[in-house]
């Protein structure tokens, strides 16, 4: 078991998301930074999609009630096991009773806002409709369908096996360092134009691609509300409700874009300017509130290539961990 010691809200149990339930109105949920979740699981010899804790608010503390291998990925949050400083993106061992502290993310080598606590075996919460991710709106999945609270105890599949086949003492280079993407020094994500793209004014489109967009405080797992130039359609656009996915950039009548994130509802009705490509959603998921982001126009081929790069990062992570453990 691991026991949550912090009162800090908004930490949730996530895996790589719930697929196949859109037909019932159920969105995907899942880790805001799927590469960090998968990376942590690879370090521990887990299935890539094993459930972990996503931590967006710090400080955060847990106690291990039994010996446990674990890894903290995503943001570099000055992790300590009792008083011992820990390397980020590294497999460690805890003994029963030890406390893991996660502090404020350091914005040094890479900027990030969410940490993932992965444990060997994965968190053993029940899978609901094929996933262990928390569905906050539907109040199911994850731990009792809600964000974690102080005193919650989460079981670990296989009882936190230590050492042995899994081993510890090895790490990964975070994708933010090995696959950086910036424009004029501002973190960037690639976007494929969507159905209503050509219905926006030329000035709006020019501003969309050329200006930095601020991630406002009204941003969360449901969506990132951005502020910047006012984006306007050439004429009113009449929309019918239709399916959307995380990454879709909707522009309501106020002219300020909203990027749908992992907890977004699966249907929308606002004009869509574009979609942040799947391969870059982790970058946005890690962008801190108050920071800026730039958009890069991508072609289909470029988006497919970006996805290949992300897959290759995962392949390489698997290979490196195998090498380090053998």
């Amino acid at each position: 078991m691991i026991e949550i010691l912090s009162a800090s809200a908004l930490a949730t149990v996530q895996d790589l998301g719930r697929t196949g339930a859109l037909q019932w109105g159920v969105g995907t949920s899942g880790a805001m930074d799927p590469l960090a979740l998968a990376g942590g699981n690879i370090l521990l010899g887990n299935d890539e999609g094993a459930a972990a804790i996503e931590v967006p608010v710090f400080p955060f503390q847990v106690r291990f009630t039994e010996d446990c291998s674990f890894a903290v990925t995503g943001a570099d949050c000055a992790a300590r096991l009792d008083d011992m400083p820990l390397l980020p993106w590294w497999a460690h061992e805890a003994h029963a009773g030890q406390v893991l502290h996660l502090g404020l993310p350091r914005q040094g080598h890479w900027r990030a806002s969410r940490a993932y606590l992965c444990v060997a075996g994965g968190l053993d919460v029940p899978a609901v409709l094929g996933s262990r991710s928390t569905q906050l709106r539907g109040a199911f999945g994850g731990h009792e369908g809600r964000a974690l609270r102080q005193g919650d105890r989460l079981p670990v599949a296989g009882g936190c096996a230590v050492g042995g086949r899994r081993g510890t003492g090895h790490g990964l280079v975070p994708p933010a360092l090995s696959m950086p993407l910036q424009v004029d020094g501002v973190p960037a994500v690639r976007v494929l134009p969507a159905a209503e793209y050509t219905l926006f004014t030329d000035a709006s489109l020019a501003a969309f691609w050329s200006e930095p967009w601020k991630i406002t405080a009204q941003s969360d797992r449901y969506g990132y509300r951005l502020s910047g130039a006012r984006l306007e359609p050439k004429a009113d656009i009449e929309m019918r409700s239709h399916g959307i996915v995380p990454g879709v950039i909707q522009v309501p009548s106020g002219g300020q874009p909203i990027v749908q994130m992992r907890d977004a509802q699966p249907t929308g009705g606002y004009p869509k300017l574009g979609t942040v490509i799947d391969a870059d959603l982790w970058r946005l998921g890690q962008a801190p509130i108050g920071s800026h982001v730039r958009f890069i126009e991508a072609t289909w081929d470029e988006a497919v290539t970006a996805q290949d790069h992300a897959s290759r990062w995962l392949d390489e992570a698997r290979r490196l961990v195998e090498l380090q453990r053998s």
Partner: protein, 219 residues
């Protein structure tokens, strides 16, 4: 979009959107259901999800080239026949007005009708379930009397309760769980629309029909 030909677009690399031309009609929706049944079986499609006269394809893997799947989709649409699903009729008892219908006065104000006239027009039709979406168990319905259409609220309500019966523009719907909404709530029903332990988890599916029964009117 209401162009003459269907529109095909991408939602990033994980989904495609197909939109039927013309005004929103049940006949078109029946073709959308038929298209969903056909393309949902394609190996690259994880899920074919109907919207209002449109269809989103959630992709199991990203195709290298888009041309092929677009051509197959357009050709399937051209050949498809309406699939008039014979679903269930589900009756929902509704308490109209009062504390559970806080925006009834706004619908009265906009339409110029009395509460009784609004209730009569809202509870008369049979509403076909076009699609599910928005949140677990929520249904998009067709068939509302255009005389009670009322624009969405300028400022969305932070949370309306599950079971809230509301009007947004020319559509009506019932919230399946608590959450934010820009629609005008005119009543409430006690029905449970979603239970992840049930199979299927959603009470309703496309092709089913809803009738609102007047349980009580609070004027």
């Amino acid at each position: 979009m209401t162009a003459d030909t269907p529109s095909f677009s991408v939602l990033g690399t994980s989904a495609l959107l197909f939109e039927a031309p013309g005004s929103t009609e049940l006949k078109t929706q029946q073709r959308i259901w038929a298209l969903a049944a056909e393309v949902g079986a394609w190996p690259e499609v994880r899920e074919a999800v109907p919207g209002m006269n449109n269809l989103m394809l959630s992709l199991a893997h990203t195709p290298r080239h888009l041309g092929d799947i677009e051509a197959r989709l357009r050709s399937a649409w051209a050949d498809i026949h309406a699939l008039p699903l014979q679903g269930r009729l589900v009756e929902l008892p509704v308490v109209y007005g009062g504390a559970a219908g806080p925006h009834m006065a706004d619908v009265v104000g906009h339409t110029g009708l009395t509460v009784d006239e609004i209730v009569e027009r809202h509870s008369s039709p049979l509403y076909p379930v076009y699609a599910l979406g928005s949140h677990p168990g929520y249904c998009y319905l067709g068939g509302m009397d255009p005389r009670i259409a009322t624009p969405r609220r300028r400022v969305p309500v932070l949370s309306i309760p599950g079971g809230a019966v509301s009007i947004g523009g020319s559509q009506t719907g019932v919230s399946a769980s608590d959450g934010p909404s820009g629609w005008n709530t005119i009543g409430s029903t006690a029905m449970c629309f979603f239970d992840p332990k049930r199979h299927p988890p959603a009470l309703l599916q496309p092709g089913d029909t809803i009738r609102f029964l007047v349980e009580k009117v609070i004027r």
